[in-house]
């Protein structure tokens, strides 16, 4: 059972890193308190994981046949990578970390399912593209709707505030549904957990990460990366939630970090203004490339050590 600890660690690191993508803009534009945001995030992550978290588990566990030790090593490696990135205050993809780790183990064992990998790689490209498209459609559409409502300054504020909260909750739900597979998906393949147990444990550990260590990355996303007005923030989060949820239904774990960057780029295209601070964006892009590579290396080393000091 100690092997499950790496899953809990992974969930915690995911929660601490990815909550920022959901509530970062809302918290730092002071539309919602940090405390309220992380509590809502935790609750909806668990609900999402329990209700729709099963899909991605099959995809991930299909990449490489997992043993109890390889599952432990992959999860621990991914968790270490994401935690490292959280310490560096970079929003990164836990999916990439997990896939990097699984491939690291696959290389060591000489068995990687490349057809499954293609599905994951396509999803990584499709995620930011999907949110760009969603933003390009939603921004003018919802804007036209709001204009017909002829809102005064107070009503407009109220609608946007609740819009951001609801979009955030939906985002948290989508995060739970989509990303729980990264946390405990491997254990279902090894038979250590049932799908429901994996969803419950994964969801809870993600929630724990959101509650305890999410502020650092939230500062990067909300303060240093994105300069959005409340309406832009609402559309960005809603588009992200929509796309991540869609991938959860399809059963492919994707990155909320990539999704939110796509949203912000979409708004940048529409408004023709600089909504992203380039320096911070470059740091994040570095994080994206580094994440699977570092996770792969960690997984390789951890799994190799396990094989040497076998605890079979």
């Amino acid at each position: 059972m100690y092997r499950l600890l790496s899953g809990i660690f992974m969930g915690w690191s995911l929660g601490s890193n990815d909550s920022a993508n959901i509530f970062g803009t809302a918290v730092f534009s002071k539309k919602i308190r940090y405390r309220t945001a992380v509590i809502l995030c935790a609750v909806f992550v668990i609900i999402g994981a329990l209700l729709e978290g099963q899909g991605g588990m099959h995809t991930l566990s299909g990449l490489v046949d997992q043993t109890a030790n390889s599952a432990f090593a992959a999860t621990l490696a991914a968790a270490l990578t994401v935690t490292l990135m959280s310490v560096l205050k970079l929003p990164v993809s836990t999916s990439q970390a997990m896939v990097g780790a699984i491939i690291g183990i696959g290389i060591l064992r000489g068995e990687v399912n490349f057809s499954g990998l293609t599905k994951v790689l396509i999803a990584w490209v499709a995620t930011p593209l999907g949110t760009i498209v969603a933003t390009l459609i939603l921004y003018p559409l919802v804007g036209a709707l709001l204009r017909t409502m002829r809102l005064n300054i107070f009503n407009r504020d109220l609608i946007l505030k609740w819009g951001l909260i609801i979009a955030g909750c939906y985002g948290a739900y989508a995060l739970g549904a989509n990303n729980v597979a990264n946390v405990t998906g491997v254990y279902t393949h090894t038979g250590q957990l049932t799908v429901f147990q994996a969803a419950a444990l994964g969801g809870t550990s993600i929630a724990l990460g959101a509650l305890t260590y999410s502020k650092n990355v939230m500062i990067t996303v909300g303060k240093k990366l994105v300069r959005l007005d409340p309406y832009g923030a609402f559309i960005a989060v809603f588009s992200m939630a929509l796309v991540v949820h869609t991938f959860a239904i399809v059963g492919v774990p994707v990155s909320t970090s990539q999704a939110i960057i796509g949203s912000v780029l979409g708004i940048g295209i529409l408004k023709g203004v600089q909504t992203i601070k380039i320096r911070t964006l470059l740091m994040i892009l570095f994080g994206w490339i580094g994440t699977p590579a570092i996770a792969l290396m960690f997984a390789y080393l951890i799994y190799r050590s396990l094989l040497i000091y076998t605890i079979h």
Partner: protein, 212 residues
């Protein structure tokens, strides 16, 4: 319940603007008395009325500010509304100051300038009326573009009248000290429409920021 909270603030803003209106009405009556009957003993009392209505408007504005800080609006909008109210609040302050200036400095407008000066006052009061309607539009979802254009026009009219009046004052045979005093009064009166224009600028900025 949430709607009630916002509605209560809108009602208070409306009450504040109504109070500024009362101040405006008293100002208009006082100015006429001060210009047409400079030595009248009743003038002190009517100027005090302008002062009282200005104070009440101030109190109402403070109540709104507290309520805004305590429980309403997101910070960005709060800043816009507070800025707008504070800029607006300078106008009743100017109504009051102008009355006191005429009263305390015992300024007597020569006959030939009285009518033109009162006309200048009317144009400046009109600029307040226009900007007041525009500000209210922000809280009652009205299109304020036409209103803000009229504020600009009133300010421009006031500028022309102000310059003509000053030129004629200095072309007259009045004592130099009197000319300076009258010029100050004319310039200060024109400042009302300048302030109305500042309010209008803030209003437009608040609207543009929210444009989707």
């Amino acid at each position: 319940m949430l709607w009630n909270k916002e509605k209560s603030i809108i009602d208070k803003i409306k009450a504040y603007l109504d109070q500024v209106d009362r101040c405006r009405n008293r100002f208009r009556v006082s100015i006429e008395k001060l210009v047409l009957e400079p030595g009248n003993e009743e003038n002190q009392a009517i100027v005090e009325e302008v002062h009282r209505s200005e104070s009440k408007a101030d109190d109402l504005r403070r109540t709104i500010e507290l309520q805004l800080y305590e429980r309403a609006l997101i910070p960005e909008s709060r800043g816009d509304v507070l800025g707008l109210l504070e800029t607006m609040d300078a106008i009743p302050g100017m109504f009051q100051s102008l009355c006191y200036q005429l009263l305390l400095e015992k300024i007597t407008f020569p006959e030939q300038f009285r009518e033109r000066f009162l006309h200048l006052v009317d144009v400046n009061v009109k600029s307040y009326d226009l900007v007041r309607e525009a500000v209210l539009g922000l809280f009652y979802s009205k299109d304020v573009k036409a209103q803000t254009d009229l504020v600009d026009a009133a300010e421009s009219d006031s500028d022309h009248m102000e310059r003509d009046l000053i030129r004629d004052i200095f072309s007259s045979k009045l004592d130099k000290a009197d000319k300076m005093l009258l010029k100050d009064i004319v310039v200060y009166t024109g400042d009302i429409s300048d302030q109305a224009e500042t309010v209008k600028d803030r209003l437009i900025l608040a609207i543009v920021k929210r444009k989707i």
